[in-house]
Subunit: 354 residues, 2 copies
C-alpha cells in the first residue's frame, strides 16, 4: 500500500520551498539587518534569561510581550498576537478562513509563502500582476475584488521582492470594497517610515503583520506579530498553537522593543540612507537598472543573466538573491542593503562584472 | 459588516484552549523535568551561541540537528523533521492530510490538541473511549478502524493524562489493519523506557512524534521532532514553515542530544523511581486511588472533588492539574512527578487534606 495516497493531491504537487545553502562573507540575500543585533539588547536579554528555568514552559500566551507591542505600535493589547515568526501567523489566519472553494487574492511577484500555504489549505488563488513598472496595479486589484469577492486579500507593502508600496488611500478603498479580510504584510515598514496601523481604527477587516527579522535584527530568534480588531485576533488565535513562542525569543523581543529608539532606530536610518546611495551608484553602472524601493533591499534589472551575476558575485564572496524565477522578474536580481563597506564591495564587484 | 463571518463556523464554535495562570512554588502541573536543564548543557549552548549573529536567519532546515537526532533515535536523517515543539508537527501532518470529510480517529481522554487542530481543519473526529480501567481498548480501536477507515489515527503512548501505553503487538496490528496513517505521540517515551521507533522499519504508515519539553528539560525552548519513512516525512515538511526552528533552540537541542547519556538519562532514572515511590505513598492515603502510569505523571482518583483538591494544594503552594473536565475523569486530578522533596511536600499536603 502506498500511504502517500493519504497526502492531499495538491500538497503532493507542490514543490517544497527551499533555498540553496550558498555562503558568502557578504550576505545580502535575505534582507537581514546588516548591523547585527545591538550588543546591549543581547546582553540585557541574556541577563533576564539567566535565572529563567529552561525546563519550564513559556507563557501560554506571551501577554507581557503583547503589552509592550501595543504601546510600541499604538494598538490594543488584546488585538495583538505574537508568534514564531510572522509566517506562523499568516498560516494561522489562513487556517481559520481558507478551505476548499475559498478565494485568496494576491499580487505577484510577491513573497512565495502566501501562495504555498493557501494552496495547502485548498484555497483558490487569484493573482493580479504588478504593473510593468513593478508597482501595485490598484485598478486591477479593485476589479478583481469586485469580480471574485475574495475571502482574503494579501498585500505585502513594502513588497518583497520589488519594494513597491500600496498608498493609504488605495488601501482604504480596497478595505471599503472588500467584504473579506485584507492582510497587509508590513515586514519592511520601518524602512518606508510608514505604517498602516492607524487604519485599523476604522477598518475591522484589516489585519497587519509585522516581523522582528528585518529592522529588529532578530531573524535567528523567529518573532512576528499581527494587529487586528480584538474579536478577529481572538478567532485567529484559535489556530495559533499554545506555547508557540519560546521563552528566549519572547524575552529578547521585549528587550528589543524597550530599547528600539536608542539602539535600533539609528540603524534603520543608516540603512535608509545607504539604500539611497546604493540606488544612485547602481544606476550609473551600464547594464543595470535598479528599481526604487521603500524596503531594505532592491531589485536590479540586468543585461547580464541574473544567474550569472549571482555566480560571479559569489566568486567575490558576495551572496545575493537570484529572483529571476519569479513572474515578471526574469531579468532581475535582488540585493539587500548592507553596511557601507558591504555596499562598496558590491558596487566594486558589479563594476568589474559590467 | 461583520467580518467574523469570514472565520470558518467550526472555528468560531471552538473554545480556545487555555490554561489558568496560577502559580505555585511546587509546579507539578505540566509534566516538566523537575530537575531543570543541566547546567553543563545550558553553558555549552550559550558558548556556541555567543558568536552566532542573532540578526541572521536560522538554517532553512535544521539539518545538523536532524543528523544528531537520527544517530540518537536510530533512524534515517531524511526521515526526521524537527520543529517548534511537536505541536507544530502534529499540525503540519494534519494540514497535509485532513480537510472536509476526512476522518480522524483518537482515543479519549487524551491530549486536547489533536481534536482542536483536526477540528479547525474540518476533519470528522471519531473518539474511542479508554476502558473503564483507563487503558487502551484495543478491540474497540480495531473495530473503529474497520468501520470508519480513518485517514489518520492518533495515539498518545504513554497517554497524557492517563499514563497508559499501547503494546507493540497491538500497535503492529493497528498498523497492519489501517489503510491510513497512524501517529504515535511518544512525548513521554523516556519514562516508559520503550520506543516504537523500531516498528518504522516495517510500517510505512507509522509516524512517531517526540518532544524536548519533558525528559529533555527544554520546555522553554520549544523543540519537537517526528520520525517517518523519508518519502512521507518529505510530504509533511511541505506544511512546515521555513525557518520554523529558531537558532537558539536548535543549538540547545543539539547539545542536549550530545550530552543526553551523561546529563539527562540519570535524571530520567530518578524520576522513574520517584514515580514508583509516589504511587505507593498515594495509594495508602484513604480517599485516593492513583492510576499506574508509564509517564512522569499520574492521575489520582479522589473522594474529594478535584477542584477542591486543586485549591487546597494551591494554598500549600503546590500547583497541580485539575483534569476533571476530561471525559471519564470527573473524579481525578493529575500530578507530575517532582523531585523527592517536592513529592514529599505533595504527600504531606494530601495527608493533611484527606
Amino acid at each position: 500500500m502506498n500511504y502517500l495516497d493519504k497526502i492531499k493531491p495538491r500538497v503532493r504537487e507542490l514543490r517544497a520551498y527551499t533555498l540553496t545553502p550558498d555562503r558568502g562573507s557578504i550576505k545580502i540575500n535575505q534582507n537581514e539587518n546588516p548591523w547585527g543585533m545591538p550588543a546591549k539588547i543581547k546582553e540585557e536579554s541574556l541577563r533576564r534569561l539567566e535565572n529563567r528555568a529552561w525546563s519550564r514552559y513559556p507563557d501560554f500566551v506571551p501577554a507581557s510581550l503583547h503589552e509592550r507591542l501595543a504601546a510600541y505600535a499604538g494598538w490594543k493589547p488584546d488585538g495583538i498576537v505574537a508568534g514564531n515568526g510572522s509566517n506562523e501567523l499568516i498560516q494561522a489566519l489562513l487556517m481559520v478562513t481558507i478551505g476548499e472553494g475559498k478565494r485568496v487574492l494576491i499580487c505577484e511577484p510577491t513573497f512565495a509563502l502566501y501562495r504555498q500555504v493557501a494552496t495547502v489549505l485548498g484555497g483558490e488563488i487569484t493573482s493580479v500582476p504588478l504593473t510593468p513598472q513593478l508597482t501595485y496595479d490598484t485598478k486591477a486589484i479593485h476589479e478583481a475584488v469586485e469580480e471574485i469577492n475574495p475571502d482574503v486579500t494579501i498585500i505585502c507593502s513594502p513588497n518583497n521582492p520589488t519594494g513597491c508600496v500600496m498608498k493609504d488611500d488605495d488601501l482604504a478603498q480596497l478595505l471599503d470594497r472588500s467584504s473579506g479580510l485584507v492582510v497587509i504584510d508590513e515586514a519592511y515598514f520601518e524602512f518606508a517610515e510608514h505604517t498602516v496601523v492607524p487604519l485599523l481604527e476604522r477598518h475591522a477587516n484589516l489585519v497587519v503583520f509585522r516581523t522582528f527579522s528585518k529592522a529588529m535584527a532578530m531573524a535567528a530568534l523567529r518573532v512576528g506579530y499581527l494587529l487586528a480588531e480584538p474579536s478577529l485576533a481572538r478567532e485567529i488565535s484559535k489556530a495559533v498553537l499554545p506555547y508557540n513562542l519560546n521563552a528566549i525569543s519572547q524575552t529578547s523581543a521585549e528587550v528589543a522593543v524597550e530599547m528600539y529608539e536608542r539602539e535600533l532606530q539609528p540603524l534603520v536610518g543608516r540603512i535608509i540612507s545607504e539604500r539611497e546611495r546604493l540606488f544612485v551608484e547602481l544606476r550609473i553602472i551600464e547594464g543595470l537598472v535598479p528599481v526604487p524601493s521603500q524596503a531594505n533591499f532592491m531589485i536590479v534589472r540586468s543585461t547580464v543573466e541574473p544567474r550569472r551575476v549571482f555566480a560571479e558575485l559569489l566568486r567575490h564572496d558576495i551572496l545575493i538573491r537570484d529572483v529571476s524565477g519569479y513572474s515578471m522578474l526574469k531579468d532581475y536580481f535582488r540585493v539587500s542593503v548592507g553596511t557601507p563597506s558591504e555596499n562598496d564591495a558590491l558596487i566594486a564587484a558589479l563594476r568589474e562584472i559590467f
